[in-house]
């Protein structure tokens, strides 16, 4: 036990006692924070875009585009507040929210919509307001407007110079009585283009409907109809059967755990491989074997890297939980059900199987990686043996991704019975109540396979560490088998 402890300690400290380890450990949440921060900044830092409309039709497309932009902003606001209502289990409030927003031409109905929502939200009306600002056209022809669009000439607005973002030109003619042209150097930001097209489409359609005897006011009434739907679960009581975001949390956390499990095992086993190759390359094994036995070295290494994984999980888990609570406290994300998320994450019904699946998966793949490492003196040598292993490990990840919306898919169910994939796939399926027989059956198969794999890997490790087998031995063995089967 002492030898195992000392091996594990050395292995653990060889990672944890380095700056690089902590930098990489902190880098992940830091990178994620930067990523989220940049997304939020990009979202909030949309520049004001000045556009002009040349309307030769006399229909008033100028105002129609403005309406379409407002409509788009209102739809986004309704969608965001509806999501908040669903998260809070208040789907019944969605029609009232939509009515409040739609009651006004712009977002003036926002306070009434918030009242209808009845719970806090981190959204504000300003984030939905259009960043397109209409200006009077500085010229009447596209030839004269071209320098403005190319940025060679600037508009003077409130004493400041601004470029002209786009010009929309409406002229009489064409199959629908009106033609529209959109001029801009920007090919990616399509909000104004869509609004211009929508306003033209709406005009053409309403003309056609009026010709058919349906008035515009009737059409408006029809457009205002916006029924909601409540999502319920038979598992809930009769009085409050409505499903909220909290009900979906276990499924989401299950999938996240499963992906996290896969990523953790994949990265830690790679660390094991690198450490083993380093030890083999540095010819330390024989010195160790004069004191400790093979199994002590093997278990010590596995335990050391398991402790490294635990450090990863604790630090990331701590940062995640702290971030969640902090975000809620600071009210940057006041609608985050932090308590419900943390309760789900730390639910023993999910956490204990996650630890169990990690342990078995780690032992299965870890011993194989150690065995491969014991056969190789360099990483290059290991790569040729690693390729099939990586392919085998990729399969459960691909399956999880493909069935992320169908955790009860029969394919996922059958694949769960493949013992080397069980830890990842059963973790993803745990919240769909797979049934006791399946749960016990897959666990027995997984444990039996893990035992067999560990025994075989230990044997290979013994041969490899004493130099009685190497990467070429495996290749020879495989080519012999191929030749035999041919």
């Amino acid at each position: 036990m002492r030898a195992i402890y000392l091996m594990a300690r050395r292995e653990y400290l060889s990672y944890v006692a380095t700056w690089g380890f902590w930098l990489s450990l902190m880098a992940m949440p830091f990178i994620m924070a930067i990523f989220i921060g940049i997304s939020v900044l990009a979202e909030n830092a949309q520049p004001t875009r000045y556009y002009a409309v040349l309307d030769d039709t006399g229909i008033g497309f100028d105002a129609r585009i403005l309406d379409a932009l407002n409509e788009s902003a209102k739809n986004e606001a309704i969608s965001a507040l509806s999501d908040d209502a669903e998260t809070a289990g208040r789907s019944d409030a969605i029609p009232a929210i939509a009515a409040a927003i739609n009651a006004e031409p712009g977002l003036e109905g926002w306070p009434e919509a918030i009242d209808a929502l009845g719970s806090p939200t981190d959204h504000s009306a300003t984030e939905f307001q259009s960043n397109y600002v209409r200006v009077d056209p500085p010229a009447r022809s596209i030839e004269e407007l071209r320098p403005y669009l190319l940025g060679e000439q600037l508009l003077q607005i409130d004493g400041e110079a601004h470029p002209l973002f786009a010009v929309v030109i409406f002229r009489p003619g064409g199959d629908f009585g009106v033609t529209a042209e959109y001029w801009s150097t920007n090919r990616t930001s399509g909000g104004l283009r869509s609004s211009a097209r929508d306003s033209l489409r709406d005009y053409v359609r309403s003309e056609a409907l009026e010709e058919a005897g349906i008035s515009e006011s009737v059409l408006d009434r029809i457009h205002a109809l916006n029924p909601g739907i409540t999502e319920n679960s038979p598992e809930r009581g009769r009085t409050s059967a409505e499903v909220s975001f909290a009900d979906s949390l276990p499924f989401i956390v299950g999938i996240v755990f499963s992906i996290g499990l896969w990523m953790m095992i994949f990265s830690v086993t790679n660390m094991l491989l690198t450490a083993m190759i380093e030890e083999k390359g540095n010819k330390i094994l024989e010195t160790l074997l004069a004191t400790a036995r093979y199994h002590e070295i093997l278990i010590g290494k596995l335990a050391g890297l398991a402790a490294v994984s635990a450090t990863f999980m604790l630090v990331w888990g701590g940062i995640g939980s702290g971030g969640l609570v902090g975000a809620q406290t600071i009210a940057a994300a006041a609608d985050l059900p932090a308590e419900a998320i943390l309760a789900t994450v730390f639910d023993p019904g999910l956490l204990i199987p996650a630890i169990g699946y990690f342990a078995i998966g780690y032992l299965m793949y870890g011993t194989v990686y150690l065995a491969i490492g014991s056969l190789c003196d360099t990483l290059q040598e290991a790569q040729s043996l690693m390729s099939p292993m990586i392919l085998v490990m990729m399969v459960p990840f691909v399956i999880i991704m493909a069935t992320i919306e169908n955790p009860d898919s029969p394919f996922l169910q059958y694949a769960s019975w493949v013992p080397i994939w069980t830890p990842f796939l059963m973790m993803a399926r745990l919240q769909t109540n797979p049934g006791l027989i399946e749960l016990i059956g897959t666990t027995i198969a997984m444990v039996a396979t893990a035992t067999a794999i560990m025994a075989l890997a230990s044997y290979v490790f013994r041969q490899g560490s004493m130099g009685r087998a190497n990467a070429s031995s495996i290749k020879r063995l495989l080519s012999f088998k191929k030749a035999k089967s041919a």
Partner: protein, 310 residues
């Protein structure tokens, strides 16, 4: 009574049908320096690995401190393997502490031993230096310190002199002598005969996986015939003069001289040869009794063993 620290009785080890060591017997006694000699591939490392329980013999028995090698008995052993390696990213002191603790020392005792060992080998100032930043010789010294840090009763050194420069070889030789003086038992393998001849109380020679000699140095030296080189200015035929002294053969000599090699017969010595020459009136220009070296013993016995194997 002499205590046997390590014994191998009829130990045999095969790898993939090939016999590496066959029916090997070895007894290493307390307080002695035993040299384990043999050509490359003779089975030295396999025998040492069996001695430490790293490999299990297919046949025969291994006994270390009177028991099958186990965690307890191994704590009393310091082993320096032939394929030397060390954690390159660790600091010198930490490496020594790690191996000393594996051998059962407490942290404070291991730290003290590490510092003393480093001082003893002139590396006191390098304690916090990483192995990767040290020269190869310094790293080897660190490994030797790590081998001895727990003050083992029995020290096994597999080819300890390989890779060391002459100065460090001398230092290691002194260290082996010092440890022996302190009552430690030492077994070391080598194919550099000079070290063995200077250091060993007992010599064990292995070739083709079989023991071909086991005894002390004088006994080993007696395995090869003693020779006398003679050059004469007279025309005597020494084959007739020294007929009863051994095997006499002519050999090349400088111009004007006649050269002879006499392989002394058992019971005959250089004095007898000299006396016979003087009595016969042989005019001697050179008379050189040749002292046998372990190197000659090694070559002679290994070649004999190879001939017998064929």
């Amino acid at each position: 009574m002499t205590e046997t620290i390590l014994s191998l009785d009829g130990a045999t080890k095969r790898f993939a049908g090939q016999t590496a060591v066959s029916g090997f017997d070895l007894a290493v006694n307390r307080g002695k320096i035993t040299g384990f000699l043999g050509p490359n591939g003779a089975g030295k490392t396999t025998s040492l690995r069996m001695s430490l329980g790293i490999l299990k013999p297919d046949e025969g028995k291994v006994s270390l401190f009177g028991r099958t090698p186990n965690a307890k008995t191994l704590q009393r052993v310091g082993f320096l393997p032939e394929e030397r390696g060390i954690y390159k990213k660790m600091k010198a002191e930490d490496v020594i502490i790690f191996f000393a603790r594996l051998k059962g020392m407490t942290m404070p005792a291991a730290r003290k031993a590490a510092r003393e060992g480093l001082e003893r080998f002139g590396l006191g100032g390098e304690a916090r230096k990483k192995i990767k930043d040290m020269s190869k010789g310094m790293a080897q010294k660190v490994q030797i310190i790590a081998t001895l840090a727990h003050d083992p009763e029995f020290i096994i050194l597999d080819e300890p002199f390989s890779g060391l420069d002459p100065v460090n070889q001398k230092m290691l030789e002194e260290m082996i002598r010092d440890e022996a003086k302190r009552g430690k038992t030492i077994l070391f393998s080598t194919h550099v005969m000079e070290h063995a001849e200077r250091l060993c109380d007992q010599i064990v020679l292995i070739s083709g996986g079989r023991k071909i000699f086991d005894g002390d140095v004088p006994e080993a030296l007696s395995q090869v015939p003693r020779r006398v080189i003679i050059e004469t200015t007279s025309d005597h035929d020494l084959r007739q003069v020294l007929d009863s002294q051994g095997i006499i053969a002519p050999q090349e000599a400088p111009d004007g001289l006649k050269g002879w090699t006499i392989e002394l017969a058992s019971g005959s010595d250089a004095q007898d040869v000299l006396k016979a020459c003087v009595e016969a009136g042989v005019l001697l220009a050179r008379f050189e009794p040749m002292r046998a070296h372990l190197h000659d013993v090694f070559v002679e016995l290994v070649e004999k063993s190879n001939r017998e194997a064929v």
